[in-house]
């Protein structure tokens, strides 16, 4: 579904910062893949290249066999900054509906999709509210509902739960798993949280520090049904978690990552 081959990105400007060196991986149809890496390793750059928001310097991205040159149809993105990604001048309903209008979905079907998506994330009652009247967790649910209503074939998420509190985060993680299982949409989730990556992913892709390459592509052999308490306390979970953690630590101490740990706190801020 998603093929990334030889992807590299160098930012122009003084000296030219090499954010991504050479990224190769593919995501099968209906898979759920988490990408983790040390802070400042270019996770967001990678995601923007996948979403067609940035054009790569080298290599290419293909979605369902077609080369990405701009935001491809059938792809939805959920950003970390829910407060900035929802349209503050529209109600929740209008926010979810807008992309469908652009897709020229007929009105009755549109209404159906909006209702479905909102009740799927448990926000059926908040349709008439404005996003800024809701809590952070609820706003991110709206963003997820908007992505779902769009009926995407690929769902990209950029640290979607980094800016909400720990309890909400656990709830949203489970919500995502439920929806993914129900809809089977190909999902790629970028995060800096190792626990989250192992808990959610069928596969975890560990990135090195910048200039970034894929450090490891790790299948997660945990049972498909996951649960915040039992899964997280399973010995296998701890093993996998420790393994990924070691990989990232290795990546940080590896080639260049001298300044990486300092940024951690800033990254997770709202």
């Amino acid at each position: 579904m998603l093929e990334i081959t030889g992807l590299g990105k160098v930012y122009e400007g003084r000296g030219g910062v090499e954010a991504l060196r050479k990224i190769d991986f593919r995501v099968a149809d209906g898979d759920l893949v988490c990408v983790v890496g040390p802070s400042g390793c270019g996770k967001t750059t990678l995601l923007k290249c996948l979403a067609g928001l940035l054009s790569p310097t080298t290599g290419e991205v293909r979605v369902a066999g077609r080369r990405v040159t701009g935001p491809p149809p059938g792809m939805a993105v959920v950003f970390q900054e829910y407060g900035r990604s929802l349209f503050p001048w529209m109600t929740v309903r209008k926010n979810v509906e807008l992309p469908l209008r652009e897709k020229k979905v007929p009105a009755p079907r549109r209404r159906e999709l909006v209702e479905e998506a909102l009740s799927a994330v448990g926000l059926a009652g908040a349709a008439a509210a404005h996003p800024w009247q809701l809590s952070g967790g609820m706003q991110q649910r709206v963003a997820i509902a908007r992505a779902l209503a769009y009926e995407p074939r690929v769902l990209l998420m950029d640290e979607p739960f980094a800016a909400v509190d720990a309890q909400t985060r656990a709830e949203l993680e489970d919500l995502l798993l439920t929806l993914w299982r129900r809809l089977g949409v190909t999902t790629l989730l970028v995060t800096h949280d190792i626990d989250e990556a192992v808990y959610l992913g069928r596969r975890v892709i560990v990135l090195s520090s910048a200039p970034t390459v894929v450090q490891e592509d790790l299948p997660i052999d945990l049972p498909a049904a996951r649960d915040q308490i039992t899964t997280r306390s399973a010995p296998r979970f701890a093993e996998l978690r420790a393994h990924v953690y070691a990989q990232i630590k290795h990546a940080k101490n590896g080639v260049t990552g001298g300044d990486a740990p300092v940024r951690e706190a800033e990254q997770s801020g709202p």
């Binding site: 067609g52 900035r84 652009e102």
Partner: protein, 281 residues
């Protein structure tokens, strides 16, 4: 915090205030709104009747003059045409400013190239255009409107450019991911996002528009509000002149009320959110 506050309020206010009924509260509100204006007018009255000066007639005489002068054909001959020209020029300037502003604000290159030129035009005091335009073409209706347009357009234009430039990056990315482009992008993303800035520009433009309307008429016209007021002043018809000042004041006040009503409607989402930096800008 709210419990702490009510606790303190109770302690301090229980002694001197019985529980206020709705009537009493309405009375207090009325007193707050009207108290100072009434005091000021009374002061004016007392001062002007105690020491009768030529330039400061009593409010009574101004009110009489007001009724005599303005409740007449003057309303249709002087006031309404003036206001009509003002609104026409203002609307044209708004359309022009927003249109050009969106175009310029959407391109970095264009913006960088246009910025110094725009800064220059904004800094030219708009009233100096009046003698210029008079010199070129006299002051018929079209020219008076042109004066207003040429003065009002800059604040709208500059603010629109700034508002469009500052459209949130994440919001823009979101729009692009969901295939928002062309007219829909303008309508659903760029214009609403820039609207607080655009409204700020329109507010500045409104007061400039009134100034230009009055000056255009004072300078070179045989009709209109500004002309009439200056005529009274030259003829030393002092109460009438004061009544003209009052009319201009009421016009400014009325237009600003209307503007605020429109603004409240358009920016409801923005104001309810706390207006962010709106009031600081």
């Amino acid at each position: 915090m709210s419990t702490a506050r009510t606790g303190r309020d109770k302690r301090t206010s229980a002694a001197d205030e019985r529980p206020a009924g709705p009537l009493r509260r309405a009375g207090l509100r009325l007193l707050r709104v009207l108290g100072l204006p009434v005091l000021l007018i009374l002061g004016w009255w007392a001062y002007s009747s105690a020491s009768p000066t030529f330039y400061l007639p009593t409010p009574g005489r101004v009110a009489t003059a007001f009724a005599k002068v303005w409740f007449s054909a003057r309303i249709t001959e002087d006031v309404l045409p003036s206001v009509g020209r003002l609104l026409t020029g203002y609307a044209l300037a708004g359309l022009l400013g927003v249109g050009l502003g969106v175009a310029i604000g959407s391109s970095r290159t264009l913006r960088a190239a246009a910025e110094p030129v725009l800064e220059f035009f904004r800094a030219v005091p708009p009233p100096v255009l009046v003698p210029l335009i008079m010199l070129l073409a006299g002051l018929d209706t079209a020219m008076k409107v042109l004066v207003i347009v040429s003065g009002c357009v800059w604040p709208v234009l500059l603010n629109t450019v700034e508002g469009v430039r500052a459209v949130d990056e994440v919001l823009d990315d979101t729009g692009r991911c969901f295939g928002l482009h062309g007219v829909a992008r303008l309508r659903h993303l760029v214009l609403p996002a820039a609207s607080p800035q655009i409204m700020a520009g329109l507010r500045q433009a409104l007061s400039i528009g009134i100034i230009l309307m009055v000056i255009g008429e004072m300078f070179a016209s045989t009709s209109g509000l500004g002309h009439t007021v200056v005529l009274f002043q030259r003829g030393f018809a002092i109460p009438e002149m004061w009544s003209g000042i009052v009319v201009l004041g009421l016009l400014g006040f009325g237009l600003s009320l209307a503007f605020r009503a429109v603004e409240r409607r358009i920016l409801a989402w923005h104001l309810a959110r706390g207006g962010e930096r709106g009031r600081h800008a």
